[in-house]
Symmetry: C2
């Protein structure tokens, strides 16, 4: 019985693999072996522990009781480790602490830059040198460190996580090295004061944290080895990542859903809420413990009027702000992509940069920090302020200018930075928006861990403030006409602008919620929602989201979203886009067929059919498996055996008849006799060739081959919409198209991608790949000759084919199908 | 070519059906016919219109140009109708208006009750009569009206919508009659002042509105005929429903996702946000236009302290509040179910109530309104206030009692109702919570359109207020110790309690967001989130959600949720729960087999196999299709034809040989001869029997039978977790379990339901239905005899079977498999 169970094991394992074909089989086998070994160890340790417990119970005395208690507690704790909430609390606490530490590090970096700048006020040149050198050094270090340790830590990280959540395994993105590189690289990059964001790298860091924690926890409980559960925990980690940057649990969860997933399991919702709340709570409590705050409040609390938040007549202004933000967001995404492509396509630039990888970030930093040098051009764009400081001032509920005359600020408030003796606030704000816009798009292209959310958020706030100040200047007494004067609050416009622009860039609506949680005020919900929705509508119709754009730039395997309102997706069918010329093998094929199939084609898996006549799909086999089969058949052990057998046979022959057979053998008799045992590689070529040919003509034995017995099947009339849904839901790489059990085509991600991108061309017309006809007609030809088997089935097929195909080449090509 | 396309049509139609097997085929055929007819009409009208346009363009003059312009505009408008946003705006506006009108109606009803009560103050008996009769009449009318017009409008409506979104078609739930019954019934029921809610019926009303709007819009554009799109729009409608009750777009969307869906398409997110925002905006704008409000604010704006919202040391109190709310929520669900089951199981009560359907609601109303009569017991529980008024007072930011001494209220404020000369606030609040608790649970069982969210929300707020007031009495100077005094705000506790209790009852976390949007303040996000999460954790571990409980009571076909943290779901496999004794038919079976299969079994679809030896799954056929096949074979036309043929043959025979054959025929020669043409039912029984037997032995011709060629297939080692995911994602009713193309079992919703509910019993043990063994051994028996066909395939199967089965009855039962 034990034996039966053990021999079952590889099969069970195999079925657990269902859904992760992307992983290399070799790696998988290794893992599996490690797992089994570990399991054995664990089982042994558990039995030992329970035995010791029994022993203890037999023992007498208080000390023994204590020990029993300890052992029991230990047992209980270990059983607890498998619970979700333990994992989520640990993850939340850990990420909050990390986020706080990173903030601390960034704070120290920024303060020391400021300190240098202030202390060198006597000499402008030295001041400039300090102002410029400091960020250049930090960024160069960040780029170099990341490059050395883990190049995949570069950039935002959200595109990679999005791809992983889609079902594609990018192993190297979730290693400890990447984690270290990302955390240290991010701290340095943000400490340089460049217009970069912390949010999207932190999503990656949180995912890394979750993956590492999973690995760590799997030492205690087996549940952490389940792949699909870990993917679910990964999507929770994204919520944690956003939450611990903005202390926004709800907004974080929603943003992570919108930005990361195509489909969301509501089951996972609770996990996300829980973990995000723990994170946000811990993050804010750390601030209280550190005496930064008196109690837990919002990160950037505002003080807008609540009894009369806005007038109905202000809504058009909010709508215009939303539409403008939408255009701006699309422009930002476009600009960022253009910069990357310019560098990529210009061969001389590319060559130069490939050689000196650290030169590009250094140059960009030099440019940006030169422009923002406060005594220089920086004085016109409040360059003295850090990102958080500028955001704080922008959300201020004071009006900065009344009818063009600047108001008096508190001397100790940061808002003073926006005031310039020669230039009014409008110019400062406009300059800030314009300069920061291209700077952020440029800075994003540096090979350091960085995000774009925060800079875009600040730019949006500045743009909103600009609109708000203009409105305040235009309507100094507010727009309300019923007696009471409710002045316009430009801070509200800043909040709306921030939500709208960041929403437009990331194609999410939940930035609205992030703004509410960040400011601690929700009374302006309607203006914010209207602006965000309009911004999204405009941006989505013009450009992909920033993360999709990065995915396209990085050429990650990803399925594009179906845009909204494109109802042609309901009319395109799978048969219009599928590849009809499927690579397949049959159960009764010989090794030569396997060999031929491997030489052509490119798909990772091959269809296994019952026979090329019936075309009934039985399953799919991975390419690697077929290679293994072939090498088994033609490999060294079999060759050796063959030669040994032949040698024995010859020996017998010679001993019996003693006459040399007229074979190829006499060519090298002296060399060959010992080589049968010692040096089998030196078989005479012609013999080997003949043997190989014989071997290739043998029928394949699929006994030791792993077959996926239920690949996902579609019907030829499944709509593109439904296909997209199924592919995204199940994270598929390809699906077979069958008609009553019979294979008629295959659709892979590539075809789907093409169809969605070029859907207008396909619309209505039955686009058919040029090679499509041969298979159909080939089969219909054989059906005619093969009447004695399952007659009815073939009749059914025939009828279907007669109706669905215009019968191109009926009886030709029938020799092709023997493949 | 035209002919080919036409004959293709039924097939295309059939494939569109993929996924909605639940619908009756007859009804579907009717619909289809209507659709084709309509399409024809539309096509004709379009061509006519374009022809008229051409004619107009040839015409000269200004008037003609105007007309061209009009026609073009018309065309453009019609093309616009297909756009999502038009639909969403229309739906949003319409539902907001309806919600406002319902509010208006409820307001009038409640005011007139109050007016009567106040004007009859001189006579307590008359006052009591008015106070009691008014709601009894309203509720009885509501119950009677709903009963007469559309009984399915009774109750919450969320369970039905949840089931529909799950993929089960409940046609009668989405009719115009239901819409009218629900709106009018709801207005009357809520106008009675009973503790009922508006929220969940409004979710149903919004879904009804969306379904009707879809139907209406489909007159203009074909896109509205797509089933899966309409389901998506339905889930948007749920968000609209919640949004137009609380003016909470984000909370509404999130609540609808959590309460209604298992999986959520992020694509649908945008639609939900957009529609919910339009609704909330319109709903609040109507209030402004009606001069109820100066501008758009929250529905119940609060005025809590923002700079120091709460102290860290208050958090344990919030946590306790959350846990208590969780227990309370579970108790509420349990109480509600117990009441329903008590009425159902008590046969005498049931019989009595079945006869007098209106008596039950009348009695319940009488009881509740007697208890709440303000001069009577009602004075101790602020019964004078309506739900919204009590909620408003509970969220008040004043403290009602300081160290036991009640504070002075404004004389014109509603808060006065909570003050009683003899009894202090704590007693009033406690009585309110306890009485309203069972009253709401009881009122929910009345057969009127009603929800439970609002009453539960109010009870939660009262409970929170109670805790808050206790805290305020305990710590009169607040808990903060650093100099400044921050008194405790009991209103905050009320908000937290409301979110926690409603979250516990509905098993959602997004009630937190609803509270923020309802009060317009988000500064207490962390206490609210902590309490809601704890309440959910407690409630979810004790009871199903209210909606799931209602689904169970109503016995709707629904898949239970996988609870969180149950990792045994990852270890149970499909082979543990599947039914191995699958009903199937083979391609070469005869009609007798069909007949036998129809007599046994209960599943809606049957598996179609290649042969009972190979067991290769080719597709599935609906039961109705098989019935059609059988009736075609044995039906009247064929019977007639047979008899006519025989008659002709006999005639020929008689004319040739003129001798009567020794058949059964001579028994009734006089009657029979004319009956061949005129009265075929009177065929002599033995002949008919013999003919029937012959007919039944013929091989089945599947030519005119609709086969689903790609039913969803699982592998036997798919985990329960994954199976649940696939079932919920794709809205399946059943799935076949195959192993390398060979059918080995079937899993339907029922098995899955059982497995999830009794998962602990299944854990680890390979539970096998007792009938399972016969099929396996039967097949393995035949394989031994049938060696000449597809040898390798069978070898493969054999090997697998040898390993996976302990080989119970090897060679017996082999006659059974011929079925």
């Amino acid at each position: 019985m034990e034996l039966v169970l053990l021999s079952l094991n590889p099969f069970c394992m195999f079925f657990q693999m269902y859904g992760r074909y992307t992983q290399e089989l070799g790696a998988y086998a290794k893992e599996e072996a490690a797992r089994l070994r570990e399991e054995g160890v664990r089982r042994r340790s558990v039995t030992e522990r329970s035995r010791s417990l029994e022993l203890l119970e037999n023992d007498k005395g208080c000390c023994a009781k204590c020990r029993i208690c300890t052992v029991r507690c230990q047992k209980f704790l270990i059983s607890c480790v498998g619970e979700d909430w333990i994992f989520l609390i640990l993850l939340g606490l850990f990420m909050a602490l990390l986020s706080w530490l990173v903030d601390f590090g960034i704070g120290i970096c920024l303060q020391s830059q400021k300190w240098m700048y202030v202390n060198l006020e006597s000499n402008v040149f030295l001041q400039y040198l300090a102002w410029v050198t400091y960020p250049v050094v930090l960024i160069t270090f960040s780029a170099g460190f990341t490059q050395l340790l883990a190049p995949q830590a570069v950039g935002s990280g959200i595109p990679e996580i999005k791809t992983i959540l889609r079902g594609v395994v990018l192993k190297e993105c979730l290693t400890f090295k990447t984690f270290v590189a990302k955390v240290i690289g991010l701290t340095c990059a943000l400490g340089s004061g460049m217009p970069l964001g912390k949010e999207s790298p932190f999503v990656h860091i949180a995912s890394l944290g979750a993956a590492l924690l999973c690995k760590f926890m799997s030492l205690f409980g087996g549940i952490y080895e389940n792949e699909s559960r870990n993917i679910e925990l990964l999507s929770v980690a994204c919520a944690v990542g956003v939450s611990c940057v903005f202390a926004a649990p709800i907004g974080g969860l929603l943003f992570s859903i919108e930005a990361m997933s195509t489909f969301f399991t509501v089951r996972n919702y609770w996990r996300g809420f829980f973990a995000a709340t723990v994170t946000a709570f811990m993050y804010r409590v750390l601030a209280v413990w550190n005496r930064d705050e008196v109690t837990i409040t919002a990160l950037l609390p505002t003080n807008f009027r609540q009894d009369f938040p806005f007038d109905l007549q202000e809504l058009p202004a909010f709508a215009v702000l939303g539409i403008a933000s939408g255009l701006g967001g699309a422009l930002f995404v476009c600009l960022n992509r253009q910069i990357v492509q310019l560098i990529r396509n210009q061969k001389t630039i590319k060559k130069f940069l490939m050689k000196k990888r650290l030169l590009y970030p250094a140059l960009v930093t030099l440019l940006v920090s030169t422009i923002t040098f406060p005594p220089g051009f920086g004085q016109f764009m409040a360059a003295k302020l850090t990102q958080m400081e500028s955001l704080e001032t922008l959300l201020d509920n004071q009006t900065w200018s009344k009818q063009g005359i600047p108001e008096e600020f508190d001397s100790n408030s940061h808002s003073q930075a926006w005031k310039h003796p020669q230039v009014n606030v409008f110019v400062t704000l406009t300059l800030f928006v314009v300069m920061k816009f291209w700077m952020s798009a440029l800075a994003m292209t540096m090979p350091v861990p960085c995000g774009a959310f925060m800079p875009v958020f600040v730019i949006g706030a500045a743009f909103g403030r600009l609109v708000g100040e203009s409105m305040a200047a235009w309507f100094p007494d507010g727009v309300h006409s019923d007696g009471t004067i409710y002045p316009i609050e430009p801070g509200v416009y800043a909040a709306v602008g921030a939500a709208a622009l960041s929403g437009a860039v990331t194609h999410t609506v939940s930035t609205a919620v992030v703004v509410f949680e960040l400011t601690g005020q929700i009374s302006h919900i309607l203006p914010v929602m209207i602006a965000v929705i309009l911004a999204n509508a405009v941006a989505q119709s013009l450009q992909p989201s920033l993360y999709d754009s990065l995915i396209m730039i990085k050429k990650l395997p990803y399925l594009p979203e179906l845009g909204w309102g494109h109802h042609e997706y309901y009319n395109i069918r799978v048969e219009d886009i599928m590849i009809r010329d499927v690579m397949y093998i049959t159960l009764n094929c010989c090794y030569r067929d396997l060999h031929d199939v491997l030489l052509t084609g490119h798909l990772k898996t091959l269809a296994l059919l019952e026979s090329s006549e019936s075309m009934i799909l039985l399953g799919s086999i991975e390419r690697a498996q077929i290679q293994a089969l072939l090498s088994l058949q033609l490999g060294r052990p079999r060759r050796l055996k063959y030669l040994r057998d032949r040698a024995t046979a010859e020996k017998q022959e010679t001993s019996l008849s003693s006459t040399p057979t007229p074979s190829m053998k006499p060519l090298k008799p002296a060399l060959k006799r010992p080589s049968v045992v010692d040096c089998p590689t030196e078989i005479p070529m012609p013999t080997s060739k003949k043997w190989e040919e014989n071997q290739l003509d043998e029928q394949v034995n699929f006994d030791n081959c792993m077959i996926d017995p239920a690949p996902i099947q579609l019907v030829e009339n499944t709509s593109l919409h439904k296909t997209h849904t199924i592919f995204s839901l199940l994270g598929l790489d390809h699906a077979y198209v069958t008609s009553i059990g019979r294979l008629i085509g295959v659709v892979s991600l590539k075809e789907l991608q093409k169809a969605i991108e070029g859907s207008v061309a396909v619309k209505g017309v039955n686009v058919r790949p040029p090679l499509a006809s041969f298979r159909d007609s080939g089969t219909s030809g054989t059906i005619m000759n093969n009447e004695n088997k399952a007659r009815d089935l073939h009749k059914l097929w025939n009828r279907r084919k007669l109706m669905s195909l215009p019968q191109e080449h009926r009886a030709s090509d029938s020799d092709e199908k023997s493949k």
